[in-house]
Amino acid sequence: MNRTKINLTSFLYPLLFLIFILLFWEFLIIYFKIPKYFLPSPSNVLNAFILNIKTFLIATLVTLSITFLAITLSIISGVLIAIGVFQYKILDKTISPYIVILQTTPIVSIIPLLIIWFKSNTFITLVICAWIACIFPIISNTLIGLKSTDKSLIKIFRIYGASQTFMLKKLYIPSALPYFLSGLKISGALALIGGISAEFIAGTGGRASGIAYILLMAGYNLETDKLFAALFIITVLGIFIYSLFNFISYLLLKQWHDSSTNF
């Protein structure tokens, strides 16, 4: 009961603060007669949002599908790479330096190359960019998780002659789960950032343009109200993705992991 109370106030106060800021903002615009192209008022933004709702909706869906495709790809490939590196010393030695390079190279700099390769299909370019952007936390967190399996438990499994596959399934992978999930939360945010920055550079021909492209175009055309609306959507998307993964990780860990209790 105490907890719901805390949750309510921690939700209410920021909301009241937001309403206050919006009202103050609206007031400033009217009072100082600031032109719309320079800084639109909240009501202008809301108006632009309603007028373009269909475009926004489609763009949001495109951005979301890029993000989720990228996350799915990086979960599959990231976990496989982590397990491979964990199981085979040779793989560890061979691949690890490249994983670090992948991590330290800013993805933005690979985008032009990808555009050359996948010129005909911008969607694929965007997915690949987002994928590269978000795979690292999955690999490194899963690997740390696998490696930090309780040493005594390993001894207990081995004293009964458990096979490596059995241990992987019943011991290492479950041990790594909390680590994997916290990597996934970071990955979700990175996939969105990756997809959006790629779209900034790649742009999108045709109909399937994402939210970032709309934001960019609104900027070129000085439709600042539309730009703000797009910005707002991106922010909401970010929060949505983060909360979604937070919730998934809460569901998966609720009976056994301490850190999941303060969801």
Binding site: S152, L153, K155, I156, F157, I159, Y160, L177
Partner: protein, 256 residues
Amino acid sequence: MLYQTLLNTRSHVDFIKLDNVSKMFQNLTVLKKVSMEIHKGEFIGILGPSGCGKSTLLTLLSGLEKISSGVLHNNSTKGKSAFVFQDSCLMPWKTLEQNIAIPLEILNLSRQEIEEKVNKYLKILDLYKFRKNYPRELSGGMKMRASIARALVTDPEVILMDEPFASLDQILRERLVDEIYEIYLRKNLTGIFVTHNIAEAVFLCNRIYIFSFHPGQIIGQIQINKSNMDMKKYRNSDVFHQTCVKIRTILENSNE
């Protein structure tokens, strides 16, 4: 008494034997020329300062780690040894009964057999009510019991214990020590018991090896004759206290 007859009928054949066994990690000699004989049905205590290689010795006895030199004979049946560690080290994602079942799953027993044995040990260790609970929902004492149940569920010949009660309070320790002792007497167990607690070792064990630090070497061996004594009386007896003092003296002298 039941205890007595059981103790007397135990055959004293060589079971586990170490002959000048040394263990090195890279250049570090952790155990140096350790020779010991462990007979079937004995309860052996290992005492010594922190870092003297007690845990390493258990790993060697379990066969999980290779010795660097010397000879190690282990006539116990493969897969019939069990570990108990200081932390209960249960898997937090499994319920108590699933945790206790894991050794049997590894040994590939049938569902029905697993269920039978797990239930049996859940009852023996007073955990049956909590079988569906996850470890985080239980107290430290109950988790330790579950960990002991997991070790016993395979009916092991040898049980290797590495400071099993170190994280529990005094009362709980004594209760668990009593329980372990009783199970030890009922089963044909051989126990190897690493501890820092002299009194615990003197209570449980019939022989105690004392190790020195750096390198780990045996500096003393104490035989305890308690076979004709009631355990409650034994705990308050002169023999008990004198043995404790004797061990403390050996340990203290080794530090100088």
